[in-house]
Amino acid sequence: MSNSEKPKDRTDREVVEISAMMAQDQLWVLLHERFRELEETNGLTQAALARKVGCDRQSVNRWLSGPSNISIFSAAKLFAGMDSDLRVACKPWRELGTSNYYRCFDEPKLAATKAVLQFRNTGASEMRSGSLPIAKIVPAIAVGE
């Protein structure tokens, strides 16, 4: 460890890196869910998606199999290939606040949690509000619909 690198710096860097990893993780969940949705409803395949966006199937497979260092450009192309727009947002940390949710076992909070999750489960692909809201996908509206 260099003289300039203090334990606090390491902690701060870890916070930054895990936040960045969470963004990758959430982007993957969105990609994965959208793909599965279209796979089930329209029979979309990885090969068809790859053809549509102009890349090889192996790349699509890698991007769909787990969080990866996919570029925003490639991610946006994949979403567009799945009739969706990727929108990106930045939320300063101070707006997230700090949780005081120590006891999530008591009944009122449990009931509130259930309500939120129930709402989320019906909310298609929208980014979960409990996560760092970096992005959400918006299904494209077909003309004439």
Binding site: T11, D12, E14, V15, E17, I18, S19, M21, M22, Q24, D25, Q26, W28, V29, H32, E33, R62, S65, G66, P67, S68, W93, L96, G97, T98, S99, Y101, R103, C104, F105, D106, T113, K114, V116, L117, Q118, R120, N121, R128, S129, G130, S131, L132
Partner: protein, 178 residues
């Protein structure tokens, strides 16, 4: 199923540790809970994970951060891709009864956090293994035995499980979010 008081008591006695995302106390919401056996918490939170054969030097760090991000998503109430990320293990023998696994995604080697749902949305991790250690049925059984013995050592109660009601992905998804 454990009650609030029992969970509190297990945390106070040090039998379980509540895992929280390493975000410097900045947590937007905690809709689910992960509790870990202290030995498991020490492994997951270790600053460095072991380097595996033929793995790049950065590998352990990336795997560790990716798994922390995945657990953080669970805690924050994000969507979990059931069966790929959370799976109820096939009950090959008594040690596997009611046992679930959190499954990391690439980069490989992946990791598995084995444990139980103390109640819906409250996961108790009692064993942690790297996937490449689980090469055959013997290794899986050893890991499941370790997980089940740990559960029994902290509480005589059965975990919150309804195996007969969890047959499909949708049922498991509902189960973790109930």
């Amino acid at each position: 199923m454990l009650t609030d008081a029992e969970i509190d008591s297990l945390i106070k006695s040090g039998a379980l540790v509540r895992w929280e995302p390493r975000l410097g106390g900045r947590v937007s919401a905690q809709h689910r809970v992960i509790l870990l056996a202290p030995s498991v918490a020490a492994e997951i939170d270790a600053p460095r994970w072991p380097l595996s054969d033929e793995e790049p030097t950065r590998g352990p760090k990336l795997r560790r951060q990716a798994f922390h991000a995945q657990l953080a998503r669970f805690v924050e109430g994000g969507n979990m891709i059931v069966t790929e990320e959370i799976k109820r293990l096939t009950p090959k023998n008594a040690h596997f009864e009611d046992l679930f696994a959190f499954r990391s995604r690439p980069p490989n080697p992946q990791v598995r956090l084995l444990g139980y749902f103390a109640r819906p949305g409250v996961f108790v991790g009692t064993a942690f293994r790297q996937r490449d250690e689980l090469v055959g049925e013997d290794e899986w059984t050893e890991a499941a035995k370790s997980a089940s013995e740990h559960w029994r050592s902290i509480t005589p109660k059965k975990p919150m499980a309804a195996p007969n009601q969890i047959r499909t992905k949708a049922e498991l998804a509902r189960y973790i979010d109930e």
